[in-house]
């Protein structure tokens, strides 16, 4: 367990308790899992609600800049208005990597990579930071695409709320490899192993209203059919 200089310092909030050998706190591991994904599940509680602290968890596209996570949406969104108040949130990113089939139900498992990151959400008010980060969001997924589009209009900036969270603590959990069975069960005539799962790109569907003569552009060449989304996002993050 690396809890050195370049690691997030776990407290009781983020320390991996069960199967702690699966827990990692170093920035390299945490950032790699974040950079390979694009949908986070963000948990928050609406303060002072009469229903006794009902938590919500919402799927949201996110991106990372250093130790800051960003997400955005309509200024009319209840989630974003609530989070703008500066409340504690938990941002979780999960990659499902495989089904682990063991020789007993008990030892079936899942191969995965996940990160739980903790901090306080804040609303980004600075217009320059807002515009820079919204452009970064596009270029992070589609490097070079901003250059092919018109810029952000002032009323679009106004209609968009940008949230940021400095990562105060984060932990990664990873499971890889074959099943681990009870010793006597290895003698059973039961198939065991791993069935890999990955998020994969399909064949692009041009907008029916696409202007005649506009071809599949150079900046999307990595989005070829059959490619893994996590590998592609990782490649983009490294070249960014």
């Amino acid at each position: 367990m690396d809890t050195g200089v370049n690691a997030y310092s776990p407290t009781d909030r983020s320390r991996v308790k069960r199967l702690h050998e699966r827990g990692k706190y170093d920035r390299e591991t945490v950032h790699a899992i974040l950079d390979a994904g694009m949908i986070a599940h963000i948990a928050y509680v609406i303060p002072d609600e009469s229903n006794g602290g009902q938590p919500y968890v919402t799927p949201t596209a996110y991106w990372r800049d250093g130790d800051t996570l960003y997400w955005h949406g309509s200024s009319a969104s209840r989630m974003l208005r609530t989070q703008s108040a500066g409340i504690p949130v938990c941002v979780t990113v999960t990659h499902l990597d495989g089904l682990v089939l063991a020789r007993s139900g008990f030892h079936h498992s899942i191969n995965y990579r996940s990160v739980m990151a903790f901090g306080q959400a804040r609303k980004v008010e600075d217009v320059a930071e807002k515009e820079r980060e919204l452009n970064r969001f596009i270029d992070r997924i589609y490097p070079g695409r901003n250059a092919t589009m018109r810029g952000i209009e002032p009323q679009e900036l106004k209609a968009t709320t940008l949230l940021a969270m400095e990562i105060e603590e984060a932990s990664a959990k990873i499971r890889t490899g074959p099943p681990k069975d009870d010793e006597p069960d290895y003698a059973l005539d039961c198939w065991a192993g791993v069935i890999p799962i990955a998020q994969v790109i399909g064949a692009a569907v041009p907008d029916p209203l696409l202007k005649a003569g506009v071809d599949w552009p150079e900046h999307l060449k990595l989005f070829s059919e059959g490619r893994r989304l996590d590998a592609l996002l990782t490649e983009h993050a490294e070249s960014y």
Copy 2:
């Protein structure tokens, strides 16, 4: 919006506020999204914690039986011990279906299907329900597999905590189709359309310790390379 007899009745907690035309409350839609997935993100708050209601969100395998969602894990798990106390939780399931590329950054979007389900977690103490549901979990993903394995041992039942949540309220949100751009932007020389994304099965990796002579079994025949996981789980749910 179907809020008839066979629909969950939305309150302020679950009603889709933004882009409400994307919101659905009927059981058929909600159950179909749940049955096509296997990983949920579950939000909860550890009661009486000194850090002011910090929410947590944990990725967990789940399954459905009627209007009840189940998930399980080690009896030593902090998450499960906390949830056993009967606290409000939010269970969210998300399918990322595609990247929607518009002619402006503002109109970029994501095609997805998601469900947010609300209720109180409870610990299943009844041993018969526990055993039945744990077997259902295996058969839901791998129909017929239980018959090829040894049964659950009593100490395994004891070491496993099973949580259940009756769905009190649920809402589904769905986006499909091409981008919607501002009228003047359709004239731009910018590629627009949808890049589909799906979770796909890879080539199975047999356990290095697999007993000689054990072949890929009949009950896994649907897990063929290149198949979509959501389609396969849906097919299993329908035949179950």
